[in-house]
């Protein structure tokens, strides 16, 4: 696993031009880890064995070997991680951010951009709260511990699958010592 740490000035993150952006990536991470005084990017590169392990734990393919993870710190102590990702809803991309504590439990998810004509209710706090405190041990599945939104089944399913994949990636990377 190759790791690069790149400190990024939060203010340098570009504002998106999407009309359906609800919160920017930098706003999301500040919202999710308000006590953090520093965010740094760790670029993970998973090897084949780790990819297989992610697939096994998440129950779906890891999709990519490379994952950018923002590590939130306070006074140099790691608080957790933020991963910003895209999944396809029904026709269009949904951009969302997942905040996970160093204990592997989900702290929060935020929908950054939603572009579908239907199913914007995945942005509602009540739906997103269902993820809080859950780990890769899950189940983190629509129709199980995550309730569906009628008319937005694909959006709900794909965001939930994406979250499950991310917590698996973080856990595998954490166990490999690639994340603090």
């Amino acid at each position: 696993m190759r790791i690069e740490v790149l400190p990024i000035v939060l203010g340098a993150l570009p504002a998106s031009v999407w009309a359906v952006d609800y919160v920017s990536a930098s706003e999301a991470e500040a919202l999710m880890f308000p006590q953090a005084d520093e965010f740094a990017t760790v670029n993970l590169r998973l090897d084949n064995a780790q990819l297989q392990e992610v697939g096994k734990r998440a129950g779906l393919p890891a999709r990519s070997a490379q994952w950018g993870v923002r590590v939130a710190r306070r006074a140099s102590s790691p608080l957790g991680y933020v991963v910003v990702d895209n999944v396809i809803g029904k026709f269009e991309l949904i951009t969302y951010a997942v905040a996970v504590g160093t204990d592997g439990a989900i702290r929060q998810i935020e929908i950054l951009s939603y572009r579908e004509s239907h199913g914007g209710e995945v942005r509602l706090p009540a739906w997103r709260k269902q993820f809080v405190g859950k780990t890769v041990a899950g189940p983190l599945r629509v129709g199980d511990d995550i309730a569906n939104i009628s008319g937005a089944t694909l959006s709900c399913t794909h965001v939930t699958d994406g979250v499950r994949r991310i917590v698996a990636v973080l856990q595998v990377a954490h166990e490999a010592g690639a994340l603090p």
Partner: protein, 434 residues
């Protein structure tokens, strides 16, 4: 951002320098004064040039950034661009179903049918504007001698004015019931769509016009609009089609639609509690379009619906009721024909399903109890002439959906009819949607 900051800093330094320089001018001789004015002038020109350059770069950045982000919205420094799925401005879609219906007591009427195959596309012109289109072919072959139909099911432009507020114009699906806007075979239980949302609500029901869609932060979605409506002048009293689906027989589907009388609709759907949907809709409009010698008539259809999906359970309930006003005079001219215009028609169903998962496969046994009546009440046109109200038809459907994945479903079910038990049948279906 950094560039802008440094530009502003430079600008600030210029102003500070200018402010500091001014008192010195008072004590300078004329040559010195001229030199300093020239210097300040040059510096001012430099500032202006830099500002113009910054402005140009900013504008170019904004313009160039828009389409780039439209196709690659993941280009924030740490969004997982490489891990993200591909996205395109134009997305091709399809859904369809092949059904097999075998009446248990009249097996000679068994049919297998490519019920519908739909090809759709969605194209995004810009971040706020997109076009949705669906072309449907029913019953596989369409010609003068064949039973098929080719239809444009949707063709509308949506423009988003604010993150939670959009306007649609064109041919679009009316937001009513649970199926009309989500009618793909993967979205419902059973080989056939339920009778209430076929005979009473003429799914897939679309009209041409405009609508606004507002998503309130609380989970409440409101839709309203003005559209074309039904045409009662199309009523064919010699056919039984009006008895199978009163509104299905007089809908216009934007095919040279009579449009003198426009209709309005409103729908409210609440999804603020995860797993719960509670909603209602109403559609009403004139249906005679100023035809000579025809009493004005209005068609109104409303519904109440709910769906609750706690864990693996999936419960749904719906009630729909339609009315056609002033049908007495209309029916008087049709006496003697088999199908007169009903004043009231309605139906409801309750449904329960339980979704089991086996790896990527899903199995959902379900049961549905429904009743519907396409001629619940007829306006009085005189003793012996007024048609007797039809009895409620009650249908019990039970079976299972087998999901190969999220996009492919195999279905099997049995249906029992109380009034016409000859219709009791076994159904098998294959559906897809992507």
């Amino acid at each position: 951002m950094r560039h802008h900051r440094s530009g502003l800093n430079t600008l600030g330094q210029m102003f500070v320098a200018t402010a500091l320089a001014l008192p010195l001018v008072v004590h300078a001789d004329e040559a010195e004064l001229t030199r300093r004015v020239e210097k300040l002038s040059n510096e001012l020109e430099a500032v202006k040039a830099e500002l113009a350059k910054m402005k140009k770069e900013h504008e170019q950045g904004a313009v160039q950034g828009a389409p780039q982000q439209a196709t690659k919205p993941a280009e924030t420094p740490y969004t997982n661009t490489e891990a993200a799925p591909g996205s395109s401005d134009t997305v091709l879609t399809s859904y369809g179903e092949i059904n097999y219906n075998r009446p248990r007591k009249a097996t000679e009427n068994t049919v297998a049918d490519l019920r519908r195959a739909v090809i759709g596309l969605q194209h995004r012109f810009d971040p706020q504007t997109k076009f949705a289109f669906e072309l449907e072919s029913e019953h596989a072959v369409t010609s003068a001698e064949d039973p098929g139909e080719v239809e444009i099911e949707q063709a509308f432009v949506e423009h988003r004015l604010a993150p939670s507020f959009a306007v649609r114009g064109g041919l679009f699906l009316i937001p009513t019931g649970l199926l009309n806007e989500s009618h793909e075979p993967t979205a419902y239980y059973g080989v056939e769509r339920n009778f209430v949302e076929t005979a009473i609500i003429p799914t897939t029901w679309r009209e041409g016009g405009f609508q606004v869609v507002g998503e309130l932060g609380s989970g409440l979605t409101l839709q309203g609009g003005i559209t074309t409506g039904f045409n009662l002048n199309k009523w064919d009293a010699t056919s039984t089609e009006g008895q199978e689906s009163p509104l299905g027989s007089i809908h216009q589907e934007l095919a040279l639609a009579s449009a003198r009388d426009l209709s309005v609709f409103a729908a409210a759907n609440y999804r603020g509690v995860p797993g719960l949907l509670v909603g209602s809709s109403v559609f009403t409009g004139g249906a005679t379009h100023g035809a000579q010698g025809v009493t004005k008539s209005r068609v109104t259809l409303w519904d109440l619906h709910a769906r609750w999906t706690p864990g693996a359970w999936d419960f749904a309930a719906l009630y729909a009721r339609g009315t056609i006003s002033n049908t007495a005079a209309f029916n008087t001219t049709l006496v003697g024909n088999p199908t007169l215009v009903p004043a009231v028609f309605d139906g409801s169903y309750v449904q329960a399903a339980y979704r089991l998962r086996f790896g990527n496969y899903g199995v959902a046994p379900f049961a549905r109890l429904e009743y519907f009546n396409t001629g619940k009440k007829y306006d009085a046109i005189g003793a012996g002439l007024t048609p007797a109200p039809l009895p409620n038809e009650r249908v019990i459907t039970t079976g299972l959906n087998f999901d190969i994945n999220q996009h492919v479903v195999v279905k099997a079910d049995m249906q029992w009819f109380r009034q016409v038990s000859a219709n009791n049948r076994f159904n098998l279906g294959l559906g897809w949607s992507f």
